[in-house]
Symmetry: C2
Subunit: 440 residues, 2 copies
């Protein structure tokens, strides 16, 4: 990709860029903090850039709204929950626009719908399918700052849909893609309450180290594996549309991590980070006849319910087969129902549920060129007496399902094994500053 | 109009009607109250009627949202305020739908936009111009209950607009008109925190009496004159589209007032009610040359700013003219700016501002056939030493501008003069029960 170089001190001749700034719930938790974010937006504008803003709901608004709904129903309808939750971001965009206007800037708020964000209509977990860039381009063209409600869109049938936890990140990168920040030498800034992307969750692993850069691929694996920093889909969008993503702390924005295309020097490091996904449950369907299409039938229904399946393992005994897979605890009850119905239809088989599992993973683009990463990880876990229930690997990650009680210890073991606290097996060379095209 | 008669006990053979039920902010202030409203909706459904529901924002939500905005700007942008306030009703519709679903009923929430409500785009005071009935009819056709967000709509340019205080009443009657409750032997029920329409504000006039029926015309005058019960525009819609409006207390729904077409017996009573509008200010433009078109120029600008002008008085001295008019205190500053700019353009004239005025009015369809109502009112006020600053009359009302400090006393004087506490000069005959087609 080639990150833009830092401008020389005193050089203010760099061209206008397009920047999307996204502020999370903590950053806009009250009017004072909203004003602080607005100041940051005003600063970026003063540097001559075109800016679009994406905001989350204030503080714990979303949780409070869900709690209200739960007082009326233990399992509120998902369409109505989306209708309810979407108000949180709508409040934020209006207040952010007011704060910017009070500073003398032109700004205009947009709901997801108004911003042209169309989703697949899957309530609570919708995926953005289309953005009509017309309204945002029209707003930018008149010199105004569009403020877009994160986390939401409209289905093709006109219903309000939300993108799931962390969905505002996806909105931000999708907006950046729609207004082609890549073409305008720009990027997407995600302001959050962490300093950036770490080698592991610093609340669990004390010597976790902040990364200055990470590739989309690595970040994607880490996000999918439970690293809370970024919504996986946001990273996918970033990769697909070439949007550099800057993750920054809203109070200390000079630090941060840049998520960008893989560069040759990234290959030198085998493992970049490790992650822990907790609260997993496993469903095992035992002793069913191994008919053609059985697996398709199983996972088709699970997917139709919008449940994300983690790892799948299949074993056979004669004509009979057993299939085990993990899902998040939250989805366990729904998945159990689906499987129980399927077994009733088949007239065969047993269903077994395990709760209390965790998954520890090591991720790195460099794994492709470094042999033996998986076996080093298994040995390290074995040395510390941690049982491995299941293994899955990809080109750039190795994951092990372990007992939940051993999860955090397992994360530390893996982190230490690959010396992530001190820069990894091979030191990462970083040239220049991470993509701060707008820094003075 | 002919109100439907009360069904005989045991007779459950009355036909299905269409009923719109509107619940105000107090009625849906918390989940328990929302559940109680939902029970009322479920009851009406159980009686075999088709029901559509309109809800306001919960409790003081709207005020709280405005307070948030004011922490960011002393005069927040009106477009953004509308964006912000509209979330209040959106929360209510989702929760109401969830409450109904929990009772096993099919229900579906709609924002104003989703319900096809299009407005003239005047932020904060928008008027409904069109309703596309398609989405609501589709919802009713599948046996579901549409829950519509009151107080809001979408401008033809796609912006969220609100209808001003009390606008949810207008939404309710407009929805009732759109789904043609008149054709389906139905009506619109406004559940509120008062028992119905009184001869005067019972907080001010102790012997105020609840009316069982009132004509649209009378209600319209009372609403315009400051009787807080109903939004004037809701009454206009009711009259225009033949929607009987039942105003009911949400906790004591067996009482209430029916707003309906005038019937011959209503003519027998001269004055039906009286009202007090407080917090009025007067602007007097003095000594301007009386050019043709002067008044048009003045009030065109005031109207363009969305300010409602109360009474206008003009007097002449030679070539010079003076124009005085009253507006609500809230609009005084804006109107003053408009007039000051106008005088600067004219290069003539002086502007005088009076604050602290009130308007007391007597209203009744029967005035048309009873002479001398106005002079009786002036005499009564004079007897009690209350100065009259201005008088305006219509076919069915007489209004006097009085000092604010005398306002409440003036209301009582007028109420007593026309013996409203004991049924008025001529007793009102009411046959049967007020329009309770659905009572057991």
């Amino acid at each position: 990709m080639g990150l833009p170089r830092r401008a020389a001190p005193g050089n203010i001749g760099y061209s206008m860029a397009r920047v999307v700034m996204k502020f999370g719930g903590t950053s806009v938790a009250d009017p004072d903090r909203i004003r602080r974010c607005a100041t940051r937006v005003a600063d970026r504008r003063a540097e001559g850039h075109q800016v679009a803003v994406v905001v989350s709901a204030m503080g714990h608004t979303t949780d409070e709204l869900i709690a209200l709904a739960r007082r009326l129903s233990p399992a509120p309808n998902r369409r109505e929950l989306d209708m309810l939750m979407a108000t949180g971001e709508q409040v934020s965009v209006a207040l952010m626009a007011i704060a910017l206007q009070e500073m003398g800037l032109d700004a205009e708020s947009f709901t997801g719908d108004q911003a042209g964000i169309v989703t697949d209509g899957h309530y609570g977990r919708a995926k953005i399918t289309t953005i009509d860039r017309t309204p945002l381009e029209a707003c930018l063209a008149k010199g105004s700052i569009p403020i877009v409600a994160g986390f939401q869109g409209r289905s093709s049938r006109g219903a309000i849909t939300t993108l799931g936890r962390g969905g505002s990140d996806t909105t931000a990168v999708a907006v950046a893609a729609a207004i082609e920040v890549g073409r305008f030498d720009g990027h997407c800034e995600i302001f959050t309450d962490v300093d950036g992307v770490y080698t592991a969750d610093p609340r669990v692993v004390r010597n976790a180290r902040k990364l200055e850069r990470i590739s989309y691929e690595e970040m994607l694996e880490l996000a999918a594996l439970g690293a809370g920093v970024m919504h996986a889909r946001a990273v996918v969008f970033g990769e697909r549309y070439g949007v550099p993503i800057h993750v920054r702390h809203s109070q200390r924005p000079d630090l941060g991590t840049v998520i960008c295309k893989e560069t040759p020097d990234m290959e030198e490091i085998a493992v970049v980070g490790c992650a822990l996904k907790e609260e997993l449950g496993r469903l095992t369907v035992r002793r069913v006849p191994n008919a053609v299409g059985l697996q398709a039938r199983m996972f088709e229904r699970v997917a139709a319910a919008g449940v994300v399946v983690d790892d799948i393992v299949q074993t056979e005994f004669g004509d009979m087969t057993s299939v085990a897979f993990t899902v998040e605890h939250d989805d366990l009850a729904e998945t159990q129902d689906i499987m129980a119905r399927l077994l009733a239809e088949l007239g065969h088989g047993e269903l077994e549920i395990d709760v209390g599992l965790s998954k520890v993973s090591a991720v790195g683009t460099g794994m492709k060129s470094h042999a033996g990463i998986a076996s080093r990880m298994f040995q390290a876990l074995a040395r510390h007496g941690i049982a491995i229930h299941n293994i899955s690997t990809s080109e750039i990650k190795v994951s092990c399902i372990v007992p939940r009680l051993d999860g955090q210890r397992a994360l530390q073991v893996v982190h230490d094994e690959f010396r992530l606290g001190t820069g990894g097996d091979a030191p990462m060379r970083v040239e220049g500053q991470p993509g701060v095209a707008y820094a003075p």
